[in-house]
Amino acid sequence: MHLKKTNIKVPLITLENISVDFLENNVGIHSVKDFFTIGKRPFRRKTILKEINFTINKGESWAIMGRNGSGKSTLLRTISGIIKPSGGKLTVSGTIAPILALSAGMELELTGFENINLLLSLSGLKHREIIQLTREIIDFSELDTNTLQMPVKRYSSGMIARLAFSIALAKNFDILMIDEILAVGDQGFQTKCVQKINLIKEQGKTIIFVSHAPADAVKLCENAILIENGSIKQSGNSKNVCRHYEALFQS
């Protein structure tokens, strides 16, 4: 039906046996008993992701589902290069626009404009490009100049999401990565985001989307994976995976 779904698959992201370990901090005296316990190990290694294998091809859209704490955000951070995997091989060809936290790394004390400047500079853009993109960001976020001159700490979470989303989308990218951000915007902005995401898909770009709402996942993504305790439990068509995801909470 769609022309973009031709048979040629270009892998953009490949994970081979990716594992991620965290150091779990166990220092500190939390009780009188701790004070007398000798030989308590201060740090424990904890495996967050276990031998993850999967490939995302150009133009595909993937939803990542799973319970809270199952490792979804860690997976996104690993793919975007923020966390180094402790084992396995990760290949990413293409630039990523990550929206990994509601605030996307914004500094709450700084104004909207200052944050636009900061985040775009940190993603490696030059002054001239930033000025150009600021216009687009203002247009897309629908925040007025007055608001953008206020410190971000006075924004509502919806306004923060608007700004974060607009900043992340401003730069040119191949892969869009969204970690549950749509939930906070108002109806108007949510619709706008969905439209924008569909537009991005039509441009043949790749989307990775973390969501707890199966309806959103099915609407936006053709494929999905289900993560349970740090490993992939199921992957494939998003409708199927969502059914499994919903089943997790039935019993």
Partner: protein
């Protein structure tokens, strides 16, 4: 080049954040050494007649000391205070300590200009020797950065390091001859002070702005070696620890 722009952006952020919501903002940086200076002049200036020019002696020491303690204090907290950013953007963690250093460096340069002007009535001599300030600052920054990188890396996992640093800092100040001459310390204890690298850097700066003769080659070599060694060790430890930062911030 674009990497330098990133550090520049972080530096700008630091400078903006530091004095946000304060009325006299930037001038706090000057006020702190000035208050110390007043106290020392009140208490000590008559005591150390061996020092020909006490005001210049103390001020030159204080500027360097506050640069050191500010840089170290900021860098130790730099990873923790930028946790949100580190978790959301791919950026080498070492940029955060470097940006703390550069924003303090900016302060120091302004402070140095004010120092040169204000010290005119107190007998500072203007000569080309003063330009040695810049290579000296580079070496001292390298030393301070390396030393602080170690502490900031460990502080992510054991917050005690930051608390400990704030606790011992005042003591560290008083065992460093910032406000008093070395001759005040009994000969048999002087070796303790001489183990303190900061002492040599302060001496280096005093030879540039206070003593009539410039710094000796021995001082320069010492500064160079301790700068490079400190930075190399700090960089190595920081990079080793940085892969686990995310799990503890």
């Amino acid at each position: 080049m674009s990497e330098l722009l990133k550090i520049y952006a972080l530096t700008k952020r630091n400078i903006k954040l530091r004095y946000k919501n304060s009325v006299i903002g930037f001038f706090w940086g000057f006020l702190k050494p000035f208050l110390y200076l007043l106290v020392f002049i009140l208490i000590f200036s008559t005591q150390f007649s061996s020092l020909g020019n006490y005001v210049l002696y103390v001020t030159s020491g204080l500027i360097i000391w506050f640069y050191f303690s500010n840089v170290a204090g900021q860098i130790i907290q730099s990873i923790i205070s930028s946790a949100d950013l580190i978790k959301s953007i791919k950026i080498p963690p070492i940029y955060f300590p470097i940006a703390e250093l550069t924003s303090e460096l900016f302060n120091l340069c302004l402070m140095f200009i004010v120092f040169l002007l204000v010290m005119y009535p107190f007998g500072i001599t203007y000569s080309f020797k003063l330009f040695l300030f810049f290579p000296a600052v580079i070496l001292f920054s390298l030393f301070t950065l390396g030393f602080s990188l170690i502490l900031s890396g460990i502080n992510v996992f054991l917050r005690d390091v930051g608390i400990l640093w704030n606790t011992i800092l005042p003591a560290f100040f008083y065992v460093t001859p910032v406000a008093y001459p070395m001759s005040l310390i009994p000969l048999k204890y002087q070796f303790i002070v001489k183990m303190n690298p900061v002492y040599y850097f302060i001496e280096l700066f005093r030879h540039i702005v206070y003593y009539p003769d410039g710094p000796s080659y021995k001082l320069w070599t010492g500064a160079l070696i301790s700068g490079i060694i400190s930075f190399a060790i700090g960089y190595f430890i920081f990079q080793k620890l940085s892969r686990y930062f995310i799990s503890c911030i």
